[in-house]
Amino acid sequence: MHKKVRRETWAFYLCISPWLIGFLLFVVGPMIASFYISFTRWNLIEEARWVGMANFERLFLRDAKFWQSLRVTLLFTLLYVPTELVGGLGLALLMNQKIRGIKIVRTIYYLPSVLAGVAYVVVWMWMLNPEGGLVNGALAVFGIQGPRWLTDPDTALYAIWLMSIWGLGRTAIIYLAGLQGVPPALYEAASLDGARAGRLFWNITVPLITPTIFFNLILSIISTFQTFTSAYVSTNGGPLDSTLFYVLYIYQQAFGSFRMGYSSAMAWILFVIILVLTLIVVRSSSRWVYYEGEAT
């Protein structure tokens, strides 16, 4: 018996070894390296020079752009995560209808998610172009003078938010899987007891898909904190740093200014922020996430 267990254990590790080796080599290794680098000054060419906490000190005490990038990223997270959670669920509910051609509808809504980030950002830049762009053109039909979107510091972040909504399909697909896992028998039983659509949704659907909501929430927080492509392509952080996302600032410091130590320090700060937020969400989950078969 013991022998068999041990052999299975070995087989298990053997089977996951490609991933494990890749993880150690390309994730853990670079993480350890960047942790060390974050305490140095290093411009790629010259020897890295140990500077202790100097990078962190400057970031927290003297770098206004660091705080601005945190502000932008937090604001965007507060804006986008709820949009993704609620909008994605709405979309999934629509996709879950039993009507003809639903598979085509699902494909259409999911399609933007498979497009390469750059391509769709460029398309959005055309649509949001203040002169002759599709969006302001449509607004003009109703006599509305559209904003200058990406070139106005007051609207640029909202323009990026608007672009990001295109990615809802990805969240919706995960929700859809959750929705389809809800046993139809529960709806039938509740309907027989006289529950209407609203009650079915709030008392059956929502509680039963809380694990999916939980999963999407964590994924959404992590990916929103790492927003990069849309701002890099469309605004490069401007105008007036209004779209200076944290990861974009890391990139600018690393590959614009070749401050590898400084940017590694920023990357580690982001790691800690995301780790803490994720832990808070995970801790809170016992209060609001229900798993089937779990006694309540």
Binding site: G117, Q226, P239, S257
Partner: protein, 465 residues
């Protein structure tokens, strides 16, 4: 230039993996596919307008026989832009059967990061092509060899070049690079719009006052809705390096000659007056269309290409497209004089890697590549750097191309020449100040520049620590 061309040059995996290494620290790396930024390093080459989005195939190592020496050449050009390189290499190998040249193109923004890692590993190409603003950083890192001893040994005549073209490749009085391609600024104008409105074409020697008057005469709001149908001048938005022209023409400079301080320079009266004039073209006089895209280095506007702007101030890069554009009857004139008659140069050059194992063969190729032999080929792609070739090909007397060459007589030093840290200190600060000035007609320019100088100085001192 269609921004699409710039955007769609999707970047290499190399950069991506380097970036992911950083991102991996934050857990799930979603591998963003970043595009090629319209980096100013790219603007030094005419090939930007030719590379229509495709990536060059990875170049297989060349076969070299036992007695042949292989010289590797790194360039940030791509696509069609590689054709002149390949042609020059073909001619060189024909004349020098003992040397094989291997071209290693890396297009886009990751070019410098790639070179830096290769240099750090001692495995960089023997000859590297870099842009003007990267010269101080690379030279300070001892990545390149001074060329003087080669020049002395081989009696290479450096006076073959047009005026001003060796300066960007010179650092601390030593020559490290020979010129590849270059462009000053000039004013493009659409003769048709001038003719239709009975305005005289601009002439060399004009001033900022003439410039403003011309732009005002050609800013035309026919239907009276407050938005002109025709704009006087399309400006390159908060494009910092292009802005250096306005600073120089106002008689100012952004950094002290010794590269130690921005204070008293970026916030000087001359610089403030340059920003105020530039701002007034957008705001007070309203002769320039607002930037359509703050991220693009040229402001992303299309008015001139669409025949809706009478003039445009920019480098030579989009010229060939404009000549074919049916909306434009193209004319080109030198930039107007402010307090000073000034211009700035954008430049790319070749140097020899300090870790090369074959310095003599590398020099032999470099002479060919960047000298008169190479210029024979470059002249079909960009402005030739060698005077005799420029004369023979008729470029000097051409009514359009000749303008660019004549502008070389008015070059002011670029700010990056004084410090390796221009790009990480003053450049972003100046950009923010320009954005603020353009966006807000009420902006207090003196306060903006004083703030920009302080930020730039702080960043500079951090870089020097």
């Amino acid at each position: 230039m269609n921004p699409l061309y710039v955007w769609l040059r999707i970047k290499h995996l190399g950069m991506l993996s380097a970036f992911c290494t950083l991102l991996l620290v934050v857990g799930a790396c979603t591998a963003p596919v970043a595009p090629v930024e319209p980096a100013e390093s790219n603007t030094t080459t005419d090939s930007t307008e030719n590379s229509a989005g495709e990536e060059a195939d990875p170049f297989a190592p060349v076969e070299a026989s036992a007695e042949q020496v292989v010289i590797r050449v790194g360039t940030g050009d791509s696509g069609e832009g590689l054709a002149p390189h390949q042609e020059i290499i073909r001619r060189f190998e024909e004349a020098n059967p003992d040397v094989k040249v291997q071209l290693e193109p890396v297009s886009g923004n990751d070019y410098y990061a790639r070179l830096l890692t290769q240099i750090a590993a001692g495995d960089a190409p023997d000859i590297m092509n870099i842009g003007d603003d990267a010269v101080p950083r690379f030279v300070e890192s001892d990545a390149f060899i001074p060329l003087q001893s080669f020049i002395d040994d081989s009696n290479f005549d450096t006076s073959v070049y047009l005026s001003g073209l060796l300066a960007p490749g010179t650092f601390d009085g030593e020559l490290y690079f020979l010129p590849k391609d270059y462009s000053p600024l000039a004013v493009y104008y659409n003769e048709r719009i001038f003719d239709e409105n009975g305005v005289d074409y601009p002439e060399d020697g004009w001033t900022w006052d003439d410039f403003l008057a011309t732009a005002q005469a050609l800013t035309i709001d026919d239907n009276g809705d407050g938005t002109p149908e025709t704009w006087g001048i399309q400006l390159p938005g908060p494009w910092t390096t292009g802005f250096e022209y306005w600073v120089a023409a106002a008689g100012g400079q952004l950094i002290s000659d010794d590269g130690s301080t921005y204070l008293g320079y970026m916030d000087s009266e001359e610089v403030i007056s340059a920003v105020e004039f530039y701002q007034s073209l957008y705001t007070e006089f309203g002769v320039a269309p607002p930037p359509a895209d703050m991220s693009a280095f040229g402001g992303g506007n299309a008015e001139f290409d669409n025949g809706q702007a009478a003039m445009r101030i920019f480098g030579r890069w989009p010229q060939s497209g404009m000549m074919e554009n049916p909306n434009i009857d193209l004319g080109v004139v030198g930039v107007p004089a402010g307090v000073e008659r000034a211009n700035v140069l954008f430049w790319g050059g070749f140097g020899i890697f300090s870790g090369t194992e074959h310095p003599d063969e590398a020099w032999r190729f470099l002479q060919f590549y960047a000298g008169p032999d190479g210029a024979e080929v470059w002249k079909d792609w960009a402005l030739p750097a060698v005077t005799s070739i420029a004369e023979e090909s008729g470029v000097m007397t051409d009514s359009i191309n000749g303008v660019w060459i004549k502008e070389l007589d008015h070059l002011a030093p670029r700010a990056y020449m004084s410090t390796p840290y221009w790009g990480s200190s003053a450049d972003p600060a100046l950009r923010s100040a320009l954005e603020a000035a353009i966006l807000d007609p009420e902006a207090d320019v003196a306060a903006l520049m004083s703030q920009a100088a302080t930020i730039a100085q702080d960043e500079l001192e951090f870089s020097l620590e």
